[in-house]
Amino acid sequence: MSVLEGKELRIVGFLCNWCSYGGADTAGVGRFTQPTDLRIIRVPCSGRINPLFVMKALIGGADGVLVSGCHPRDCHYAEGNYYARRRLEVLKGLLPVLGINPSRFEYTWVSASEGQRWQHVVETFTARIHALGPAQAFAGTTGPANHNRADAMVS
């Protein structure tokens, strides 16, 4: 699962500052081992997470996207996660028609004290993404001899 055991995949995690980022920290302080595929981006609140963040990552070739915020009724800003819940739940309806496996995206709630739950969430989600394997990035340039931008960046 971890980088030592096989090929690491790219999973982007959007975590709210007040609960889930703290929960991930708690897991770290408690030395709960976790897979290392997740790249965490800290945001002020799950309500700050524009569904387009998720889509930008997935279309850009991320293998998975995980969003985590405060439990409902626990939001630092009282109601940010309620809006997030609706937005992200609706977003799930877009993935299959776009040709993206909907299992590559998930959202959940982890509080700052739930180090063990964080470990469980990361393990479960990473296992799910590994079962799916690496995502195929959307490809295709149309211009004549207009070499791929990504290739240009690599060279």
């Binding site: 279309i59 609706v90 309806g93 993206i100 959202y107 479960t124 990035a137 959307f138 149309t142 931008r149």
Partner: protein, 320 residues
């Protein structure tokens, strides 16, 4: 009096209190009408409401805010008005809606398919409606096509053919083409599987020329000159002509329309390259309808993504 004449009198009766009435008039060729801005009786010449009334006149309302404007509205146009009002993007008292029973509108791409090898749609010299058929004058003689075969897809699943929020309704209300929108088209599309659909969008979006006709034809896309697609900071889309950037713009459009799209289909109709971009919006509309029972542009309740419930009866996010 014919519906056309009744509509003309309704327009003339309302015009003194309005800066203009938006309807449809002669277009550049027989298969296409053009949006018509009526400011006086002289402008009524060539006014038409019917099979060629494709454009959604509600599109122009946000830009005309501040003066009272009339529109002649199909059922779907009226839904756009309803949604704009619900979102306070326009004021209800600044719009005068003249409704009529809509029997569906033409889809020129379907005409092209129907004409097959006879000629291109751009060579049709005249169009005449004859009962359930349209008769087209072509260089190879008359071609008769069944109206239902050249009517836009959205009309086949239309549940609101009559402008429900009309201030004046002309004619006899028409029964809807379908009792409800089952989203069968989206279910069928989705059933093709993610791998096939990814290839589908890669192929379709490779045609995109980034003209943004889809955005500018959308009555709910009100940001216009301030669209985030044009922003450099944050840099949502690059200027590269590649599929991920172009597809991501469609995602922006669809996501910003979730819970707002009334399904008027103008985005897809406007696309000069025939990219079926409405599918993405309909997938989200279906989702919103299933989760929150909300249909955009009907009623005045707050759109679901602008509000929340503490306990969501239809969302089971704690199940994993």
């Amino acid at each position: 009096m014919s519906i056309q004449d009744e509509l003309k009198s309704a327009i003339m009766a309302a015009l003194p209190d309005l800066s203009c009435v938006i309807g449809w008039g002669p277009g550049p060729e027989p298969l296409r009408a053009a949006p018509l801005f009526i400011r006086g009786e002289a402008d009524l010449e060539g006014f038409t409401a019917g099979f060629l009334s494709v454009n959604n006149p509600a599109l122009y309302l946000p830009s005309l805010k501040g003066s009272k404007v009339g529109i002649v509205a199909k059922g779907c146009d009226a839904r756009s008005v309803g949604q704009l009002v619900t979102e306070t993007l326009i004021k209800r008292e600044e719009v005068h809606v003249i409704g009529y029973p809509c029997g569906g509108v033409i889809d020129v791409d379907k005409v092209a398919a129907g004409l097959a090898d006879a000629c291109e749609p751009g060579e049709v010299g005249a169009l005449r409606e004859d009962g359930d058929d349209v008769v087209l004058d072509t260089p190879k003689g008359e071609v008769r096509l069944a109206k239902k075969d050249v009517t836009a897809d959205k009309c086949g699943r239309c549940t609101f053919p009559n402008a429900e929020n009309a201030d004046v309704f002309v004619g006899i209300r028409r029964a809807p083409a379908a009792a409800e929108d089952t989203y069968a088209d989206i279910a069928e599309f989705e059933a093709r599987g993610t791998e096939e659909l990814k290839a589908f969008w890669e192929k379709e979006m490779s045609r995109c020329i980034r003209c943004y006709a889809c955005r500018n034809a959308c009555p709910l896309c009100v940001c216009r000159d301030h669209c985030i697609a044009a922003s450099r900071e944050p840099h949502w889309v690059s200027q590269a002509d590649d599929v991920p950037d172009k597809l991501f713009f469609q995602v922006i459009h669809a996501v910003h329309l979730s819970g707002r799209c009334t399904g008027c289909g103008e985005c897809e109709r406007a696309c000069p390259l025939g990219i079926p971009v409405l599918k993405l919006k309909r997938a989200l509309s279906r989702r919103v309808e299933n989760l929150f029972g909300y249909k955009a542009g009907i009623g005045t309740e707050t759109p679901p993504l602008l509000t929340f419930a503490i306990e969501e009866s239809t969302i089971k996010e704690r199940d994993w």
